[in-house]
Structure formats: C-alpha cells, structure tokens
C-alpha cells in the first residue's frame, strides 16, 4: 500500500460511520471523564480537558486507529495520593513526566515486554479495574439522601432496558438527560456535578504547571509519573490488542506507546490529567461502527463542542445519574466469564488472575497488581517447564556401568530433581550421562551436573558426560564462549 492509501484507510474507511461512532463516544465520555476526575480528586474540567486533548492528539499520533483514549479510571486511581498531598499542579507536572517516559518507552520499543503479561494477568487487571471503579462510587452511595437510591435504580433500568427497544441512541445519555430533567423539574435536592468542582467554561489554554522546577519536585512526582506511564501503557496496549482482534487489523504498538506520551504531554500543558486508552469506550466505538482515526478525532472535537454549548446543563447532572453510568461501566469492564472459567482453567491461571485482582484492590495500584501477576505466572511457568525433563537409565550387561539418558530442560527449577534422579547407592565402576537430548539453560544447571559428577567420583565411579556441548549451546550462546567448554565443564573431565 502506498502512504496515501494507508492514510486513507486509517482515516476515512467510512466517514459517516466514524462521525456517528465518534458522537456516541463523546456523549458516553462526558459522564466518565467527570466521574474519573472526581475519583482523582480534581475538578471535572481537568478530566474533560484531558479527554479532549488526548483524543485529538492520539487521533494523529496513535498507532491504533479507532481506539479511544481519554482520562481513565486506571490512571485516576494512581494519582489520588499525589493530588491529595500536593495538589493539582504537581499532578500536571507528573502528567508531563509520564508522557516523557511513555515516549521513551515507545522509542525503546518496550511494548515487546507486553508478551510477559499473560492473559490471566490481563483478566485480573480489568477485573480489578472494574472493582475499583465500582468502589469509587460508594462514597456517592453512602450517607446520602434516600432519593439518590431510586434515582440510581431508575438510571440503571434505563441504561440496560432501553437498548432492548432501540440501539439508535446511547442509553446512558438518555438516562442522564431524563434524570437531570426530573431533578430540575421537581427541584429534587441532590448533589450535582456542579457541586464537585469547576467545569470548563473556556477553551483549554496552554499553561505550564505551576511548580518549582527542581529536584524536590522531581522526587515528589517521579514515583507517580512512573506508575502512570506503566499503567497507561499496559491498558493502552491491552486495549489496542482488543481493538486489533475486533477489527481484524494490525496496529503499531510502539507508535501507540509514543503517541500516548505525546498526548499526555499535551494534556498536561493544557491543564488536563494523564490518561490512556479506554477499554470500554473503544469497544463502544467499534460497536457503533467506528473504524478510522476520524472517529477518535471527532469524538474529541465533539466533546469540546458539547461542553461549550451545554456547560450549564452539565453542571445540573445529579451525581446519582453519574453513579448509574459508572456502575454500568464497571459491570461492562468486569470480565464475567472469568468467574465461570475459574472452575475450568488450570488452577495456576486462576491464582495468577485472583492474585492480580487482590493485590490491585488492596494497594489501589494496578501496576503492583500486574507486577505480582507477572511474577507469579513466571514462577508457575518455570514450575511447569521443570517437569519437561526425564532421565532413563540402562545397566550394562556386565553390571559394571550404567548409562543415564537425560532429556528435557535442566535449569534452576529442575536442577534439584535432576540431582535426585541419580542412584548413587548403586556400586558401579562407570557412569555415562548422556545429556545430548537435554537443554542446559543456566549456571544452576551446570552446577547441578557438576555436583552429580563429584558425588559419583566420591563413590569411586568414573563419570563420562556425553553431548554437553549440544545440551549447553543456549548457555554458551549467552556467555559467548564458543571456543571453550561450558563454564563448569573443565571440572567434569
């Protein structure tokens, strides 16, 4: 494909469908951006400006057409402490730094590390995210006037029942409009979005964060910025993969990583909080027919138009309506099939998933949850790979020598089992250990072979190792010592 054709395919596969999908996304995004700002502890305008900036920038800079990025729950959860202790300006500075990290990650192609994040960890990630989004709604549901509860119930009823009759209009929007109208009409005394902080009144303006540019500031924002960068890339690349699957088209993960960084830097400069790709909104976009970059761009532009036109009405939205939408978002984010799969999947996968969820919910930090999940899946994998290892042996006719044939993987996790498989009580003159069908992966494995040889020698048995060079080619390759024997080999002869 020529560049021009690729550009056309990425931007305008179907202009009408993309504009409509972008419109649906913008409408669905307003309540979410407000709610995520409230989770982060900043004014709603911070999340709304961020969503506009990120959508517009990522439409050009992103590597995955039709993916929606904006202010997200995952990012909001990470920044809570920083905002509470140091305030908005430090959050904006952290957003800039997060963007820098993400651009570096894109340039260094760190996205390849995503392959170590297994499916179970990803499932744990989205489940934890859903639980945290739901938990963040609890303050709006506890210690409020009784009228809140019926309003949330009505909101949820509209959101879930309306699509059975028509899928032409976004049902969360209908819920919000009706509940807002009812609250205004009947003069119901409930908390509204306007009570939660400032809403956008003007176009976002360029302004660098008002923080002292010194090492002390860096020390404050560095941990949050790093976590933001990691969480943002995790969710973005995960979402990109989902959109890839849905649309059966490829994406450029490294361009997406750098694009997220650029989008965050722009957001930070225009008074917006850090954001990333949104799983739910991206699914909504594809479901509504969005396939091109235009859908993302229009989503962002239309979002701003709506805010400028309807700013005063947005202020009147009761928090109850917002809570209903966010409950829908958390229910939609949760991978319910994973509960059913608990009974079917290997227990190791379930443990990885549950551990990711548990750690995340306990720490409110998705990065830590994912780290634990990745670690656990690594351990479980090593444990399984260690079982791919077998030793068979034959005694010679005269009963004086025995040949051990080793096949499979010898590494740190299987080294102990390797040593234990030799019968050292058997009095033989000569032992032959044939490792040509095995892989010697690491120094632990080399040391294990060494140990076996020493033990045999102490019993007065002569040992010969066959095929060590073939078996340890991985190790040699890594150490780059092709001209010599493997590290411990001289001791063996």
């Amino acid at each position: 494909m020529t560049n021009l054709e690729r550009l056309r395919a990425e931007w305008f596969p179907n202009v009408r469908a993309d504009i409509l999908a972008g419109t649906v996304v913008a409408l669905a995004l307003i309540p979410e951006a407000i709610a995520f700002s409230i989770i982060a502890g900043v004014d709603p305008k911070v999340g709304l400006y961020a969503s506009f900036c990120i959508m517009v920038v990522i439409a050009f800079a992103g590597g995955r057409p039709a993916m929606i990025s904006a202010a997200t729950g995952a990012m909001a959860l990470v920044m809570v402490t920083l905002v509470r202790e140091h305030g908005l300006q430090y959050l904006l500075a952290a957003t800039l730094l997060c963007g820098v990290f993400q651009i570096i990650a894109g340039l260094l192609r760190l996205g390849v590390l995503m392959r170590f994040v297994s499916r179970s960890v990803m499932t744990g990630f989205v489940n934890a995210l859903a639980i945290l989004i739901f938990m963040a709604q609890l303050p709006e549901l506890i210690g409020v006037t009784w009228i809140t509860y019926p309003m949330v119930a009505v909101g949820l009823a509209i959101i879930y029942i309306l699509p059975r009759f028509t899928t032409a209009v976004p049902s969360p929007l209908v819920a919000i409009v009706l509940l807002t109208a009812a609250a205004m009409f009947f003069g119901i005394e409930v908390r509204t979005v306007g009570d939660m902080g400032e809403l956008p009144t003007d176009l976002p303006a360029f302004l660098l964060p008002d923080v002292p540019w010194n090492l002390e500031t860096l020390r404050i924002i560095l941990p949050t910025a790093l976590t933001l960068a990691v969480v943002g890339l995790l969710e973005s690349l995960m979402t990109a993969q989902i959109v890839d699957e849905l649309t059966d088209t490829p994406s450029d993960k490294h361009r997406e990583s750098a694009g997220q960084g650029i989008a965050n830097i722009v957001a930070g400069c225009f008074g917006g909080m850090a954001g990333c790709a949104m799983i739910g909104q991206s699914v909504i976009n594809v479901q509504s027919g969005g396939r091109g970059r235009l859908s993302t761009l229009w989503g962002g532009v239309f979002l701003l138009i709506l805010l400028m036109l309807l700013g005063d009405l947005v202020r009147q939205i009761p928090m109850a309506a917002l809570v209903a939408v966010m409950i829908m978002v958390s229910i939609g984010t949760f991978r319910w099939s994973s509960l059913r799969d608990l009974a079917v999947h290997p227990w190791e996968s379930s443990i990885v998933m549950l551990a990711t969820v548990a750690v995340t919910v306990a720490t409110h930090d998705l990065a830590q949850g994912v780290a634990v999940g990745v670690l656990l899946s690594g351990i479980f994998f090593a444990r399984k790979a260690a079982r791919i290892f077998r030793i068979t042996s034959t005694l010679s006719a005269d009963g004086r020598s025995r040949t051990y044939t080793v096949t499979g993987e010898i590494f740190f996790a299987s080294a102990e089992a390797f040593v234990d498989s030799f019968d050292l009580r058997e009095a033989i003159e000569r032992a032959v250990i044939d490792v040509s069908g095995a892989h010697v992966w690491d120094l632990t494995a080399v040391a294990a072979i060494d140990r076996v040889v020493l033990k045999f020698r102490r019993e007065g048995t002569e040992v010969e190792i066959l095929g060590l060079n073939e078996a340890s080619s991985e190790l040699l390759g890594r150490l780059g010592r092709h001209d010599k024997d493997a590290g411990a080999a001289p001791a063996l002869h």
């Binding site: 409408l27 879930y160 032409a168 049902s171 849905l246 059966d248 699914v283 479901q287 509504s288 319910w336």
Partner: protein, 280 residues
C-alpha cells in the same frame, strides 16, 4: 522450466489475461502459476449506538464481527476458487500442462512481489475489478505492480490475438538496451515481425546499436523513425501499422520518476489497445 505468474480476478480482463499467459507459456515452454488475491474488505458493523456496555461485551462483539466476516470470507473464497478453476481449464485447453493455482489474502502488489522472485514473467490485465472504467485510468494495482516489479510484465489487452507484429520502443537508455537484448534472444518473439521504433530527431543515431543486436540474433527489425509527442506518436504507429504487441521500458529518470511511473509509460499503456510488455 521458466515460470509465468498470471494475476487474475473476476474482471473482463480475466480471460484475455489467461490467454496471454497461455501464449507466453507455449512460446517459452513455461509453467503458469495463476494468482487470485482476495482483497480484505471489512464487514459492515452491526449498528448499535446504545453506548451501553453489557456483560463481556468485547468478547460478544468479537464473535459477532467474526461471524460476519466468516460468511463473507467463505463466499469470497468460493468465488475465487471458481475464477481459478476457470483459469486452469482455459490454460489446459490452450495446451499448457504445468499449471499451479494460488489463492492469497491481502494486497495484490505485496503478494505479487513475494511470488515473482521465482518467476520469469508476470502477466496482468490492464484493469482489474477495482478499477474505475469510466475514467479510462489504469488499474491502481497495475500501476503499483509496474512500479515495483523487477521482472518483465506483460500487460494484457482486453482481447487476445496471437502477436505476429511487434513494436519495440527504444529510447537509448540502459533499460531500453536490456529490453532489446531480451527481444533478440527470447523465444517469446520467435517468428514475430519486429519494428524498432524511436521518436525524435536523434532517432536515427539511437537505432544503430539495437538494430545491430537484433541483426546479430537473426531477427532483423524494420527501423521506424517517428516525430512528435512520444506517446502519441507511438500509439498512432501501433494502431496504423497493425501492431499486436508493444515492448517498452517503464523508464524512471531519477527517484521521483521511478516512484510515480514514467508518465510516458502510463500514457502509452492507456493509449494502446494492444498488449504491452513492460521492462524495468
């Protein structure tokens, strides 16, 4: 055994493309590999603007979209099969024994570039299914293949007529001389009457070297000196003298020209109603 790659689709050029390939295969004693490429056209998405996220919506949506694509994909495969089977029958009927059928996904040009490394000649219709007929443009696929193909490309005309008279358009360039070498020794032009065509005032001087090459190979060419706009002059000669085949270079002068395919080349391809053998 030389190999010919013939690209076909459901367009009205499909049959004549196969006929051209059959002619070339007989002349060269070559085997023919017929390629049909299934373009990727994403399915119309189900319209759902409810904006609501149900339980495991992404997985459900994936199933829905996959089911849609599956049905279309099956249909396209079947249709492609039928096109290829028809091509095979036509080739065998024309006496070609070595026929291979290949069905691939993706863009035509990518697949052609991948396959033609082992090929000696490429045959493709002047326009494909996707081309805009009203505009008289070349097919976009053809332009791209010509731009990037290192092998000679035989561009099939709408109807096939076994070539008896062939015009060789020569401009003195290195690529042009390679083309003359090919014309001199290739069995493809055995027994075909040759015209060596040059355009412009320096034409006579340009003719000596290629004429000698052809003479030495025992295929003397009739020298033709034309005046005027290159593509108009050649197109007029080809029509007036009743030529059945034009051999020419897709000359690129400099990087930009290489990228956009010489304008003379595309003008000639558009203007001539006979098959054109294009050299890079």
């Amino acid at each position: 055994m030389p190999r010919i790659l013939a690209c076909t689709d459901g367009s009205i050029y499909a049959e004549s493309t196969i006929d051209h390939a059959a002619w070339a295969a007989r002349a060269l004693g070559a085997g023919v590999q017929v390629l049909h490429v299934l373009p990727r056209t994403p399915a119309e998405a189900p319209v759902d603007r409810s904006g609501a996220l149900g339980l495991d919506r992404s997985e459900e949506l994936l199933k829905e979209l996959a089911a849609l694509d599956e049905a279309r994909g099956r249909l396209a495969l079947k249709r492609g099969r039928a096109i290829l089977d028809a091509a095979e029958a036509r080739l065998r009927g024309a006496g070609v024994t070595e026929v291979r059928l290949t069905q691939r996904h993706g863009a035509l040009v990518d697949n052609v570039l991948e396959l033609e490394r082992e090929m000696d000649l490429l045959v493709i219709g002047k326009r494909g299914e996707a081309a805009d007929f009203a505009a008289g443009h070349l097919g976009a696929n053809l332009e791209r293949v010509l731009r990037s193909s290192p092998r000679p490309v035989l561009v099939a005309a709408r109807a096939f007529r076994a070539p008896a008279r062939c015009a060789i358009a020569h401009d003195g360039s290195a690529a042009s001389l390679r083309m003359v070498e090919f014309a001199a020794r290739s069995p493809l032009l055995e027994g075909v009457a040759l015209d060596l065509v040059t355009v412009g005032s320096g034409g006579a001087a340009l003719q000596s070297a290629p004429a000698a090459i052809l003479e030495a190979a025992g295929r003397p060419a009739r020298p033709v000196l034309l005046q005027g706009e290159t593509h108009e002059a050649i197109a007029a000669h080809v029509a007036d003298a009743g030529m059945d085949l034009l051999v020419m270079g897709a000359y690129g002068h400099g990087r930009l020209r290489t990228m956009i395919l010489g304008s003379t080349t595309s003008a000639l391809l558009r203007g001539c109603r006979i098959p054109v053998l294009v050299f890079r």
